[in-house]
Symmetry: C2
Subunit: 709 residues, 2 copies
């Protein structure tokens, strides 16, 4: 038990690191007044969204906590599960808040650093990301371990370890609930703003991306933060916590020894230290390759982690230590493999992306068909990898091995997430450079930073999907074990040949389709509201209208002095605040239905199944269905979106097909823009939300299992 | 046993009816020389494709038959299974041949009839379709029943009914194999021609649909026949035979009484008679509503069928006759329900389709997003219906009930398919009217006919998907029962908690994505070849080029006499034959990989599972995964395609949004055309092929079960 204090120490260390780096970011120069102003608008907008979101979630969390306490009480279980739930929700919310606050501060500071050098800008952007990464793992480890230690110390469960661990599962539910709404709400926000800004600004009014005359640009930049930074953070927080708690439940249920329960905590704690070491390995010298810098940090820390895990596992457990170690290696390898495949299907210049480029020549229809085809095809190898990982991890260490494989993938989430969050920060820095009218080489530097992160981001996505699948299975296995222990001697079988199970499997497999359609419909409605607002501003604000007309005259050198003053006068007239408000309100309103669907469905199916005494079996079928179809749908949508995005970027850089050249503004480019617009909600809203959907439904089942059956 | 001769009699009657109606179609007037010529080109093209396809399939069939005989022999089973397989393949091929031959003849005869009246045209088109319908059910019933009677009469199985029935399952495999290739090959053919004709003809050269100057038009019309008529026929032939044979296997395995084995044959035989009666109920008086005529035929015969089934079931079986009867009713209601939902999501003027229309205003990207959303959302209720049907059919009559529900849906396939095939015949008739330069009222009449069939066609699609799901489950249940009987006392459980089963479930759920991507990739490549050929002809054939230029001048009244003669000269110069060849070759080449995937995967997974003594379990997981995800994907793709199609049609008829009017040629229309083009391979190639994929994989498992495990 004493060793757990070291784990708590690691959690505290992560938080200290995060605060230290936050201070460092704050001390960096923000640049010109214009940059300060833009930065402040983005930061304010992001915080306004978070506030509005948390206000709604607070109600949800309190209601669920009460229901949980009531349900637990009514079956004689401990109401502490609802305390765990509250702590989990708080920790997830806090991680999102801390990470996003620093990310919005890092944006314009990265832009400013990019005025002097690439290396400095990399440093600021990566440091900003590392705060998110360490906050997530720090709060995750602190939360779970502290609950465990406190419950144990206060002897609240009279040494009944199973009940204690069961009460801790509430933490995972809390984290998952917040994650779902953060991912879905953030995804809707970012795409509504993005589509709105693009369709009216770029296409209708013909002004460049991120131009200050476009009222939706600030909302668009806010969206990158709430969607890509906070959303991704919440997603990985959920996986991370789910993998830890899933392993703990299985460790006790299978081995009945505390060593197997604490092992996941040790690994997570060690992962924090390794992640911090990894962040120090990331530093590009002037003229050095930023890609190399990130790679050294990420792969270097993975290598160290493997060695650390070997010693930790062999030191902690006696039975089958090597099998468990191999399981973590299988998980790590699977994550890496899925990442590389993701890069193959979505990376600039790869064969699949080139095929999308080629099909753009005959128009947007063939571009769309090609992208859909690439996305669907890209499910093949990742799913095979997951299937093989399941079988081999199980062969090495049973169900516990599957949970350990998930944990192996997620052990250095700290640095992984730092690299993930670095991308949107660089992206935003570029936007600010554009809006603040900085010289083009600044934008070039930030674009380079952004591009550099792409491979690592693809690998990150692979880890996110792979870990979601394995974490779900770990939670699913934990659910099964809890049901088994309830049933006592009789075996718990989820037999597909049972019609109830098959029916539930059908419904489960359909849910990702329904959920995606809700998410896409929400984006469509929110984008429509945004489009109307931008059009209204262009129509009703005279200075803006006049400035747009000047911009339409073409090259700045041809403008008269009067033109210039009209243009200058228009620059500050766009009402960004109203657009931010619209995105915020739409996102909050639209996230509720898909969110509730995810929470309510497993409970409903379980209760319906109970009518014929098949509740757990029906629920098992539902979970299996939603997981297998959800993983395929998530990969399909994410990768189709990625392929369209990079196909568009390739054409923007200029391509040559059959001797003809095509670039920005060509018909081929226009076709590719359509594909990219379709891909946006795919890859940033519905696709990643499915990761959460599958985990959340499993964790709901896991927490509810003792009450319902 | 004697009663089975009546069933054979019904099968013979169906064939006599088909030949009689074929003769009647032949005796109808073909119209002008130009119409004769066009009709002949389409008929020749369709036959050329069928010949080329059957040549390839013959090799496949012979190889599989040998392997089957060898495998059966090696485990001491009867090699007669391979005879059944051959007969099944032949019957399916013959049904396709007969149905398509008459459909291609009915095309221009319908056009000609439409010159005088709507009612006459309806009569010709429906009669053409009814030949397809009755050929399918006739050959299906004749094939299965004759094999059963002959095997029994010759005492080839020494009164071992289980072995006899097992040998008959080969018939289903034969039918499924042909169906797969017919659906996939036909789907690729029709969409390659369609996309090619549209993109170069309509979009690039700006000539109307079905214009004789477009070299791909004949291929496009051939495609409608090979895809929509022969493909749909093969699909329903497979479901029909699968449901019958699945029920037979389950009837013996569960009840051990021949009454339950022959009951499905009686129902199928009675269904033939009822279908024939139904066709006589379809007749529109001049001025009457054709929709009403079709409805009377379809719903009238369904009503009769319910009564007939009640008496048949209660007369034939003793135990639980009412339960079985209710199961068939549940199946019928489920099919109808799914059909109505399909109509709701894809019908002209419905709310979902209107939403796609509305989103077309902001361009093709939002049109695509809306269509994808509608398609995904449309999976919700049909899957719920299927789930409920499974549970209730099972509650009423066990696993046998699930098979009977499928049969209940399919009992009057004869008339169902007649209505389905009537659609493409009317569609083609319209194309011929255009190409032959007939007066516009002819095209209007055929368009009306085509539109009239839409609701019934939607219901038909619902039946196709619903019956595919239930038939698959029946086959799956039959597979389980066979494994059970092999295992003897020990129970056969496909437990999701087993990692091998879960891994197989993952792979199964991924297959529809991979399969769809292969199908769409094939369409893309084939369309590209077609596009290049059409462009080449426009470039290299001088008379064609000159005529196109004349056409580009606009209204015919403004042409000079010279223009007119140039135009006339060009009309016959397009090389339709070359386009037909390209479509044929591409389709044949491209159908092989997806086809083999479907056949080989279950065998491979079964063998891999055998390595750890879990072959049947792994296979069970695979089948469950592919079924639940395949059904959702099939509904998603079919309905998204249908919604895009009708959204485009609505805009073509003229719509008004926010006070502005949009019609053909507007930007809104162009956006909708993109959606329709994306939807084409969805709804006509990959979507419907999934119906076959899931059935085929189940039937492969069923037939292989005794050899592999």
């Amino acid at each position: 038990m004493n060793n757990l204090y070291y784990v708590i120490g690691a959690g505290v260390l992560a938080m200290l690191y995060a605060f230290w780096k936050t201070g460092w970011i704050n001390s960096q120069d923000e640049g010109t007044d214009r940059m300060k102003q833009i930065g402040a608008s983005i930061a304010d907008g992001a915080m306004a969204f978070l506030k509005a979101e948390y206000r709604v979630l607070a109600i949800f969390v309190v209601i669920v906590a009460c229901l949980l306490a009531f349900a637990a009480n009514s079956v004689g279980d401990s109401w502490l599960v609802s305390i765990s739930f509250l702590v989990g929700a708080l920790a997830s919310g806090l991680a999102g808040f801390l990470g996003m606050r620093v990310a919005t501060k890092a944006n314009n500071r990265t832009t400013n650093a990019a005025q002097s050098s690439l290396a400095k800008a990399l440093n600021v952007a990566f440091t900003g990301g590392s705060v998110m990464g360490l906050s997530v793992v720090g709060l995750g480890v602190l939360g779970v371990t502290s609950l465990y230690v406190i419950y144990d110390y206060l002897e609240l469960f009279n040494d009944d370890s199973q009940k204690l661990i069961q009460a801790i599962t509430g933490f995972s539910l809390g984290a998952s609930s917040i994650a779902l709404f953060a991912r879905v709400g953030g995804g809707i926000y970012t795409k509504a703003a993005d589509v709105g800004a693009d369709l009216v600004g770029k296409v209708e009014a013909g002004i460049p991306e991120d131009h200050p005359l476009n009222p939706a640009t600030i909302a668009d930049n806010v969206g990158d933060n709430v969607g890509d930074v906070a959303g991704m953070g919440a997603d990985l927080f959920e996986s991370y916590v789910g993998a830890i708690i899933g392993s703990m439940v299985l460790g006790w249920a299978i081995f009945g020894e505390l060593a197997y329960v604490t092992l996941p905590l040790y690994i997570a704690g060690a992962g924090i230290i390794v992640s911090i070491i990894g962040t120090f390995m990331v530093s590009a010298k002037e003229g050095g390759s930023p890609q190399k810098a990130l790679n050294i940090g990420e792969f270097g820390s993975s290598g160290i982690m493997v060695i650390v895990m070997y010693f930790l596992i062999t030191y902690t457990v006696e039975t089958n230590a090597m099998g468990i170690f191999y399981a973590t290696l299988i998980g790590l390898a699977a994550g890496l493999g899925i990442g590389l495949i993701t890069e193959h299907y979505t990376g600039t210049g790869t064969k699949p992306v080139k095929s999308v480029v080629d099909q753009s020549i005959t128009g947007s229809a063939t571009n769309i068909i090609a992208g859909l085809g690439v996305g669907m095809q890209s499910t093949f190898i990742p799913v095979l990898i997951i299937a093989v990982a399941i079988v081999f991890a199980h062969q090495n260490a049973g169900l516990y091995g599957i949970a350990m494989a998930a944990l192996g993938m997620l052990a250095n989430t700290g640095i992984q997430l730092a690299v993930d969050a670095y991308g949107p920060i660089s992206d935003n820095a570029g936007g600010i450079a554009e809006m603040a009218g900085l010289p083009p080489e600044v934008r070039e530097r930030t674009d380079k930073l952004d591009a550099v992160g792409n491979t690592t981001a693809a690998i990150g996505k692979g880890f996110a999907i792979g870990s979601a699948a394995l974490t779900t299975l770990a939670l699913f296995a934990a659910f099964s074990e809890i049901i088994k222990s309830k049933l006592g001697e009789s075996p718990f079988l989820i037999n597909i040949s049972e019609p109830i199970v098959m029916a539930a499997l059908f419904i489960g497999a359909m849910l990702p389709f329904l959920f995606s359609s809700l998410a896409m419909g929400a984006v469509g409605r929110a984008a429509m509201a945004m489009i109307e607002e931008v059009r209204r501003q262009f129509r009703e604000i005279p200075e803006l209208k006049a400035a747009l007309e000047v911009l339409g005259k073409g090259d700045e050198s041809s403008w008269s002095d009067e033109d210039k003053s009209i243009y200058e006068a228009g620059l500050t007239k766009a009402d960004h605040g109203r657009c931010i408000e619209i995105s915020t309100q739409s996102a909050i309103k639209e996230m509720l239905l898909p969110g509730l669907l995810a929470v309510v469905t497993p409970i409903l199916i379980g209760l319906l199944g109970n009518l014929v005494n098949m509740g757990p079996q029906a629920l098992g079928g539902l979970l299996a269905g939603v997981t297998v179809s959800g993983v395929a749908m998530a990969i399909f949508q994410s990768n189709a979106g990625g392929a369209w995005d990079n196909a568009k970027k390739m054409i923007e850089e200029g391509i040559e097909i059959n001797g003809e050249k095509y670039g920005k503004g060509s018909d081929v480019h226009k076709a590719a823009v359509v594909g990219d617009t379709v891909g946006d909600p795919f890859k940033d809203t519905s696709g990643p939300s499915l990761n959460i959907l599958i985990k959340l439904m499993s964790v709901v089942s896991l927490v509810m299992a003792p009450f319902l059956f």
